[in-house]
Amino acid sequence: MQLRKLLAVAALISGAAVVHPASSQDLTLEFVVWNYSLETVQDNVKQFEAANPGIKVNVTDYAWPDYQDSLILRIRGNTPTDIVYGGQDWLPAWGAAGFIAPLDSVAPDGAVAELSGDIAGFALTDVTYDGKVYGLPYYSDTISFIYNKKILEDAGIAVPTTWEEVTAAAEQLKAGGMDRPIIYEYNQELPNFYDAFVAQAYGRGAELFDADLNPLFADPENGAFKQLEWIADAYAKELVQSDNHESTIITAMNTGNHAFTIVYTYVLAALNDAATQPLAGQFALAPMPGDTHATLGFAKSYVVTAAAAADPARAEAAWKFVDFMAGKPYAVAKRWAVEKGLGFGQLPLFEDQEVIEAWGKWADVNALGEQASIAKAGTYTEFSSVWSAYFRPLLAQAMVGDASVDQVMKDGAQRWTELKEQFANR
């Protein structure tokens, strides 16, 4: 009798296993992001899970300022991690350290090459390390010079095309009673701080490094050197107000007390959001002042970890996830663009009517396209994020007059050279 009961229970258990075979095959991917618009991230993940039965995705988020160090410690601590948000400035170091894997190692043959053909040049540069594509764009944007149209029109000031004209316009506005016409995102702990400086230097047509990765910016004739002098001068003339985050810059610009700022382009969408901002509609982007009007373009991407790539089942699932998020028909990239105003690296979306219509509400789409077409990628190496962390406080010192531009540029160039040698010797 006992034996029969036992057999019956065993049969029930094995029957249940047959009825629910998926549970034994379920695979949970660990997806790590920074905490921008988590509700949209979670919703995208839900859609992926619905389209891919048997694959679950667990999302972990870290604050943007702490993202890279949290992620590095997570990977060094062997915490399971399959797909991560990657930044263009971090990618080479992660690749060199063996944290991440080229997408070709997880994707079907030819899939990455086919998608790469649709990616904008600077964005493709940003997701490539050592000749291999490591990520597909989550979003891709430029840094923009943004101004308040109404303030300039009321004051009879033409949109500045050079940094000298920006100074003249700001001085005119200050003389008219505007205390600090320029508001500047000044947070030396964020990579944005260095990116914004590079974008301005690019506007002057500057190159910060030569082809052999030797620093050029310590030369007083270099555009980056001149731009730092310009910022220091603008601070000394009390034309600039610092603010440590784009969110407070949006609020401050909407007080009408500032005419100019330099921020990620998607901030323009928030500035012109009629639902939340009192001065919505008054803000526009102008080409980055300078001789060439170039700016910095960059891409944040979906990257697969080396640990995931080493396990065939996880590698296959990870590729499905990356392809869903950033591959054709670019539905997720389009969603970010339409709903949040995020830029994209996938060129076909520039011709998508829904995107054009949505972006037309907050920006001149032609101006955006022109800016994207002349945007340049930054210079990123295995040690550039380490160097950037060293250099940013120096930049900040020079801006507020706490150190000379010459000393800061020399110090920055010396540290770059030290790190270059140090890395070459390891």
Binding site: E238, S242, T251, E382, S385, Q397, Q422, R426
Partner: protein, 292 residues
Amino acid sequence: MWTINRFPAIWLIPALLPVVLMTLYPVGYALWTSLHEVMILFPGEPFVGLENYRRVVASNYFQDALRNSLVFTALAAPSVVVIGTLIALFLQHGFFGSQVVRSVVLLPWVLPGAISAVLWVWVFHPSFGMLNGVLRSLGLIDAPIHWLTNPDTALTVVAIAHVWTQIPFAVVLMMAALSTINSETLEAASIDCPNPFKRFRYVIVPEIKSMIVVLLVYNALTAFTSYDLVYAMTGGGPGTATTLLSFQIWRESFSMYDFGAGSAVAFIVVVISAVLIVAITRALPSDLFASE
């Protein structure tokens, strides 16, 4: 015959084990790290001797951070003790609503550092900060003052925020110390000496001297190793104007990924902290650290 009672040291193992695991091992590992080139993004961890110490001490960042930490500590620690003592003396007297006031005084204690930082950033914000608004409405300023991004004012502003967060603990300890003073002594003193300042100096201070030393040592260490407020309010800036040594440990380790240099700064902080404690206890002798 072997019994456990003949080896009493064995009984210490349960207490010593956590100390070894939680304190000595991490400290030992940090010392090892400070003697190696441990750059988390680079392969290998070669032994470099005292090179990390030489490099961090020679860097401008370290020198600025050391100077800022000493100034910050000198501003904050005595301020907390003085203000905490004054508030405790005030709260000793019962008055209408004193219970409510006591609760309010303790409020900063329950707020996490990051929340306190956000509050103070909004107080000092140049565009919509409360302080500039008040100063403007009083006609004291025409243009907003950029408190947090001016290298001349940023450290003082962060020190003010830090003092605000530390006062409640000082008040609680000082009220406890004041409550131990014999009420008859205070009554006699009020008859013999009508001057309240002299009463405080010659009757109360001797009774609470040990607590003053405790608070000074505690607050010197808290200020010297302060991190969260600085990180959230200024990120160590502008430039290095508010970079403290504790922040520099973080920056070397987690921003520049040089754990060797970060550990070297940490060890230097430990040594300086020990010197601070000895200096304070020698400058203000009390019974607190007496051997008998």
